[in-house]
């Protein structure tokens, strides 16, 4: 008996591993023309794991104070061996994570995979997206450069304009009235402890629900299968789909390293709280649509400040998005078709506003 089998037997005798893993062996993944979309959730998970690993490595040298943060990132980039690579992979992986999370979410929305019984899988997924955006906002400030400073100023001011609770949540986020070193310390705590803990918890629930309800099949494919049962195809999750997923992860890793090597993430200039916002300043691409909306909205609409209306609109949009499966079941089958129009409108709006924001001077 070789060593691997001996270890396996040792574990099996104590924990009955074979029985625990039995459901995984029975799990199957449907094969059809949209099957590749199933890989996106896994790739998002992979980028999150990359974030955890590179984040821990960055913690070895990063110092979260207004006086030292910028210099410590400069030190990581210029002096620590392969520091530039670790930081660049962390930044690119963050962007890839947001992109994959959005793509995964819209693929789920457009194939209506959120319908009964997967409503809570959708809700946990949307919460995960909010957490990912929270990571984006909090991590962006940590290098304490000019772009980060103004992005945080605007981002927290947006939170501050919410009626009634706005000022309180802005002060809580900033650790005071203004964006200062206290904000940096708070965002650091959020970024490295609170958000990861919440994300891991939410991710576990999300994965358990995915495991519980299995993989959803799009309605069009399901109808086709019902008419022609011989066309129904499935593959075992382990090892067939698992190995395909690993290939996806490996390609994602290759893309990450290539992007980091050929387009290393810039650091910019150290933040100066008393200098003007530089011309052409913009947030990261995933906040560009909201940024552009706030830019275009008039200063006053009726008796309300334009930006307050815009921010309330974002909140309403997020709420509707979260409750999508419930709204669809409330509307019923016939009117539920408008949901797809709404999803396509949301997608088109986000894409067009992002492009307009990117092109704007």
């Amino acid at each position: 008996m070789n060593a691997v089998v001996r270890v396996q037997t040792w574990i099996d005798e104590r924990f009955n591993l074979a029985e625990s893993l039995a459901p995984l062996r029975e799990k199957t993944v449907p094969i059809h023309k949209y099957s590749y979309w199933y890989l996106l959730g896994g790739i998002t998970l992979f980028t999150f794991l990359v974030q955890l690993c590179t984040g821990v490595l960055l913690l070895l040298y990063y110092r979260p104070t207004a006086n030292e943060a910028f210099e410590s990132v400069q030190n990581i980039t210029n002096h620590v061996q392969f520091g530039w690579l670790i930081r660049s992979v962390h930044s690119w992986s963050a962007n890839l994570m947001v992109f994959c999370a959005f793509a995964h979410m819209f693929s789920v929305a457009l194939t209506k995979a959120y319908k009964k019984p997967r409503e809570l899988t959708w809700v946990t997924g949307v919460f995960l997206l909010f957490l990912v955006l929270g990571f984006g906002l909090s991590g962006y400030l940590l290098p304490w450069n000019t772009r980060a400073y103004f992005a945080t100023k605007v981002g927290t001011e947006v939170a501050g304009r919410v009626p009634l609770i706005g000022h309180m949540q802005m002060v809580l986020l900033r650790g005071g009235e203004d964006v200062t070193g206290a904000t940096l310390t708070r965002f650091f705590g959020l970024h490295v402890v609170i958000l990861p803990a919440l994300t891991v918890g939410m991710l576990l629930i999300h994965l358990l629900l995915v495991q519980k309800f299995g993989t959803s099949v799009p309605v069009s494919v399901l109808t086709q299968w019902q008419q022609h049962p011989d066309q129904r195809k499935e593959m075992p999750f382990f090892p067939n789909f698992f190995l395909r997923e690993l290939m996806g992860w490996y390609i994602a890793l290759g893309c990450l390293v290539a992007l980091s090597v050929f387009f290393p993430w810039e650091l910019g200039n150290k933040a100066d709280p008393f200098s003007s916002a530089p011309p052409g300043i913009k947030p990261e691409w995933y906040f560009l649509a909201q940024f552009q909306t706030l830019k275009l909205i008039p200063s006053r609409i009726l008796f309300i400040d334009g930006e307050v209306l815009g921010i309330l609109g974002f909140g309403l949009g997020a709420g509707l998005w979260l409750g999508l499966p419930f709204i669809e079941s409330l509307l019923g089958c016939r009117r539920g078709r408008w949901i797809r129009v709404g999803i396509l409108f949301a997608l088109a709006y986000l894409m067009i506003m992002t492009i307009v924001g990117y092109m704007a001077s």
Partner: protein, 161 residues
């Protein structure tokens, strides 16, 4: 009312009133537990809210020196804990105002080519008196008084009439 007894126990005779008493006692305990949780949460919440900052409000500040700014230019300077803007018009006159954009709090700057105060974040424009003239800003910037004392330029909040 007869409650179900465990094996080896005698059935217990209890009146509904006594059961309600037991239930309301359990509710009391639950309430006390919730209250004890609140006593734990309250200090935590107060801890998370930052303490009020002392001496945040400033009424006057040194903005710069004469000759520092050429005509038709501007600079930002520290006014208490916030940035402020000093502008020297083409005529040589000085103007000063808060540099915190009334839209979403970015720091504005003076643009010599348009002779306006401009916010780079969301393209908001103000005139040299701080009045919002285009773009998303909903209100004017707070204008300050400028006083020249010797070679130094001092800026102060406008006195209420």
């Amino acid at each position: 009312m007869v409650t179900r007894a465990l094996p080896g126990e005698c059935p217990l005779e209890k009146s509904p009133a006594e059961i309600m008493t037991r239930r309301s006692w359990a509710r009391c305990l639950l309430g006390a537990f919730a209250a004890s949780l609140a006593t734990v949460l309250y200090p935590v919440l107060r801890y998370v809210a930052p303490p009020p900052e002392s001496a945040v409000s400033t009424n006057a500040a040194l903005a710069g020196t004469l000759g520092e700014l050429i005509p038709n230019s501007g600079k930002t300077f520290r006014f208490g804990s916030r940035p402020a803007l000093l502008v020297r018009l083409a005529s040589g006159e000085y103007k000063s105002m808060s540099a915190v954009c009334t839209h979403l709090g970015c720091t504005v700057q003076y643009r010599p080519e348009t002779k306006q105060v401009w916010c780079a974040c969301h393209n908001g424009c103000y005139d040299v008196n701080g009045k919002n003239v285009s773009g998303p800003p909903p209100r004017a910037l707070e204008a300050y008084d400028v006083q020249v004392r010797g070679q130094e330029i001092y800026v102060s909040r406008k006195q209420a009439a």
